[in-house]
Subunit: 219 residues, 2 copies
C-alpha cells in the first residue's frame, strides 16, 4: 500500500506518516521543499525503526499508487491541486484532511465560509469528476497523532460520494490501531465533520487538553 | 426544581419530561392543546409511578420557575416565543432543544440555512438580552430518550453566552443518569452541535440504528 502525504512536514502530516508507516504502508512524505521532507523523514525514522518512509516533493506524493492525503493547510490546498493534480494516478484515492479553520489573534477560531459548504466539497469542485475523493482524519488532533506511543482510541468519520472511495478509505483508517472508521455517507457530511474539528479546538482550549476527539455510540 | 417543557407532547419533549421527572424534577408538560398535554402526561405517568408531572398549555410551561425547555419543532419556535415569551420568569433559564432539520420526501435531510448560523443563535436574536439562554439536549436521539429503560450513556454538549446559564444547564444535564454534560463554550458552538444532530440522523439511516449519539474523549 503506497500513500503520498502532501504537506507531510506539518504536524498532521508527520503524525499520519508515522502511524501509517508503522502500520506497514509505504509512505511518500511530500513537501514543497525536498530538503524539509528529508529532515522530517529523518526525524520520523529515528522514532520508528524499519519503516518505509521516503521524502519527496509534493508532486511525487501526488503520484502515489493508492492514496494521496492532502494535509497542507487549507489555504494552500487549491494551489497544490492546481500545480500537481495532473500527476494523480487513476489507481489512487485522494483523501482530504484539511479543515478551513481561521485563527486570528484575540478572536475565537472560526471556519472560513465556503460557497460549497465545506473544504471537502470545495476541493471536490476543483478535481476532475473521475478522481475519487474522500474526507477522513479531520477530527483527530494533530498533536495526538504525532505522539505515537499514545493510542488513538476513537472513531474516524469517513465520507465520500462514491461507495468505492468510501470503502477503500475506511479500510485505510482501520489499518491504524485504535481507530474505528465510521461510514458517514456522502461528502456533504464533511460540513458536520469540519465543524466538529472546530468544536474540538474549542473544547481543548476550555478543558486545557489537546486530545479532544469523538466516538459515536449506538451504531 | 421546576421545569417547563414547551411542546412537551412530541417525542423529544416526552422523553425529556419522563427522564427529568424520574430524576426528581417537577415537570410542567406544555402543549398548544391542554387536552393533548393531559393525554401525554397520563401516558407518561403510567410508565413511571410517583413522578411530578403536570399537564398545561405552553404559556404555563413558559412560566416555570427554573428551566424552560423549547422542544417544539424548529418551525414553530419563533411563533411560540412571540406568544409566550412575556411569561418567562427572571429566575429561569431558557434551554433551546430545537434542531432546524428539514425532511423532504426523496431528499436527504438537511439543515435550514439561518442567517444567525444556528437555531440557538436565531432564538437568541429573538429573546430579550436579559433572558438567559442555553442550548442542550440537541444531539440525543428522541426515540432513545423516550425508552427510559435504556441508559443514555453519552455526552451532552451544552453552550451558552453567559457562564451562569451554562453552569446551571450543565447541572440540569448531570441530573439525568448516564449523561455527562460537556461545557462547549459560547452559543456559537450550536453551529457544530446542530450539524452533529443532522449527522446522527444520517448515521442512523446508514447503520440501521436509532441510537447514534456522541462521546467526547480526551477531556
Amino acid at each position: 500500500m503506497e500513500i503520498g502525504i502532501v504537506g507531510g512536514t506539518g504536524a498532521e502530516g508527520r503524525g499520519l506518516a508515522l502511524r501509517l508507516a508503522r502500520a506497514g504502508c509505504r509512505v511518500l512524505l511530500g513537501s514543497r521543499s525536498v530538503e524539509r521532507a528529508r529532515d522530517a523523514a529523518a526525524e520520523l525514522r529515528a522514532r520508528a525503526a524499519d519503516v518505509a518512509l521516503e521524502p519527496c516533493d509534493n508532486g511525487a506524493a501526488f503520484a502515489a499508487a493508492d492514496f494521496v492525503l492532502l494535509t497542507v493547510p487549507f489555504a494552500g490546498v487549491v494551489e497544490a491541486l492546481g500545480v500537481h493534480a495532473d500527476r494523480l494516478r487513476t489507481s489512487s484515492v485522494v483523501v482530504d484532511v484539511t479543515v478551513p479553520i481561521q485563527f486570528e489573534k484575540g478572536q475565537p477560531p472560526k471556519l472560513v465560509e465556503l460557497p460549497e459548504g465545506s473544504a471537502a466539497e470545495h476541493i471536490r469542485a476543483r478535481l476532475a469528476p473521475s478522481v475519487p475523493l474522500a474526507a477522513a482524519f479531520k477530527t483527530i488532533p494533530a498533536r495526538l497523532l504525532s505522539e505515537i506511543e499514545k493510542p488513538l482510541d476513537c472513531d474516524e468519520l469517513v465520507c465520500a460520494d462514491t461507495d468505492d472511495a468510501r470503502r477503500r478509505t475506511l479500510e485505510l483508517v482501520q489499518r491504524l490501531p485504535g481507530l474505528r472508521g465510521v461510514d458517514a455517507g456522502t461528502l456533504e457530511a464533511s460540513r458536520a465533520i469540519e465543524r466538529m474539528t472546530l468544536l474540538a479546538v474549542t473544547l481543548n482550549k476550555r478543558h486545557r487538553s489537546h486530545e479532544a476527539r469523538y466516538r459515536v455510540l449506538g451504531i
